[in-house]
């Protein structure tokens, strides 16, 4: 019945999730064999850590009711509805309540701001594309950009745009080009822009938390692999692998550090030319860990 103990357990869970678990997951090799499940796992870690933090705050704030977590939160809610939310509130209760409310408010406002910023940036980019890119003749639903740099990307949105530059078309043969376009279609169909949104919003404000540093990069890499798989189901994986090598080695490397990104290209090429690109066992393992992560904080608070 001691909610302070629960709060301690939840806090420990948060620390475990955002530090050692995140570091381990970022280094794990098995996740590349189930990229989509692994993306869900990263999201689950984030959700679980958020729930546990809010839960820990509420545990501290509701201990004084001696009614367990559910009863305590109920009484807290009644107090708020009844217009006397602060009645009988001691210092620890107030601190707990503040923590719970702040984490919720900060997370939602930060995510909201980044969503708005990203949507505006995408709209601006779409306007540029409208002025500069022409619909491709050969490949349905893609835009051609008359530029010598070899670029291929997907602009996410309600109607995602797939952009291929003339430099890319010159560099690749028909089979490679088809594989690349299918890769971009994978991003578009699976709405990777949307999947990435909450992750990008974490990086800037929470740089000091390992999870916030690691998750966006890891998820971005995994989404590339998911799109590779989408393409490899329809075209020869070797075409995509050779296109990937051709594009990533064509231009002079920019001055900024690309160590992680290049590592990503290597891993992607290896899994495209290897025989065990995806594995059911990896997907099941990731799924189990997802369930465990999300239910752990719920189990702690509901057990009391």
């Amino acid at each position: 019945m001691n909610l302070y103990l629960d709060a301690g357990i939840l806090s420990a869970l948060v620390v475990l999730l955002v530090c050692p678990f995140s570091t381990r997951l970022a280094r794990a090799n098995w996740v590349t064999r189930a990229p989509r499940a692994a993306v869900t796992l990263w999201h689950s870690l984030g959700i679980s850590a958020t729930l546990a933090t809010i839960g820990a705050g509420l545990c501290v704030a509701t201990e004084r009711f001696h009614a367990g977590f559910v009863g305590g939160v109920g009484e807290l809610g009644e107090g708020m509805v009844g217009g006397h939310p602060l009645q009988g509130l001691g210092l620890p209760d107030a601190l707990g309540l503040t923590l719970a409310a702040d984490v919720g408010v900060v997370l939602f406002s930060v995510v909201g701001v980044v969503i708005v910023r990203t949507v505006l940036a995408r709209a601006r980019h779409r306007r540029l594309l409208n002025l500069l890119a022409t619909p491709s003749q050969g490949c349905m639903g893609t835009l051609t950009l008359d530029h010598p740099s070899p670029v291929a990307y997907c602009l996410p949105g309600i109607r995602p745009r797939i952009v291929i530059s003339s430099g890319t078309m010159r560099l690749l043969d028909q089979a490679q080009l088809a594989a690349v376009i299918e890769h971009e279609r994978g991003h578009a169909h699976e709405r990777h822009g949307l999947v990435m949104l909450p992750m990008t919003s974490l990086t800037e404000p929470f740089r000091w938390i390992p999870f916030a540093r690691l998750a966006p990069r890891a998820v971005a890499g995994l989404l590339e692999m998911a799109a590779d798989d989408h393409s490899a189901r329809r075209h020869a994986p070797s075409s995509l692998a050779s296109a990937l090598v051709a594009l990533s080695t064509s231009a002079a490397p920019p001055r900024c550090a690309f160590a992680f990104a290049s590592h990503g290209v290597n891993v992607r090429v290896q899994r495209l030319i290897g025989s065990d690109r995806t594995s059911k066992r990896a997907a099941i393992a990731a799924g189990l860990l997802c369930t465990l992560a999300v239910f752990a904080p719920l189990a702690v608070v509901l057990s009391s």
């Binding site: 540029l128 670029v151 989404l223 590339e224 090598v245 990533s248 900024c256 290049s262 030319i273 690109r277």
Partner: protein
């Protein structure tokens, strides 16, 4: 919407092609023979409201010009598509990152070992 965007692009190409000389609506429309004059005027007005086209008035005639060149817009687009992560808010997902020379050797070698057999799984 797609057709409108297409027409905006063609109008811009006419203005960019005039090498900075402001054109009247009629002159723009003459270069787009498959479109009505009024349609072209509407598009020019839309582009003016988006600040992509500037309008100057001499007497009764409006003249239109593109203040920024096609290359300026292209450079901006390329920065957003290829730039560092901060510049690349819009385009989150890009097919291939550029790798260094050592990495390139490793990647090419990996491909050489690949048997020549097409066909996916």
């Amino acid at each position: 919407m797609a057709a409108l965007g297409e027409l905006e692009r063609r109008v811009m190409e006419v203005l960019w092609g005039s090498m900075g000389t402001p054109l009247t609506g009629r002159q723009v429309a003459d270069q787009l023979p498959d479109r009505a004059y009024t349609t072209v005027l509407t598009i020019l007005d839309r582009l003016r409201r988006k600040n992509i086209v500037e309008r100057t008035t001499e007497g009764k005639a409006h003249r239109f010009a593109a203040p920024a060149s096609r290359e300026t817009y292209m450079a901006q687009l390329m920065v957003e598509a290829l730039g560092s992560a901060q510049d690349r808010q819009a385009v989150l997902v890009r097919f291939a990152e550029v790798v260094g020379p050592e990495e390139a050797v490793v990647l090419r070698r990996a491909l050489e070992d690949l048997p020549d057999e097409p066909g996916g799984t």
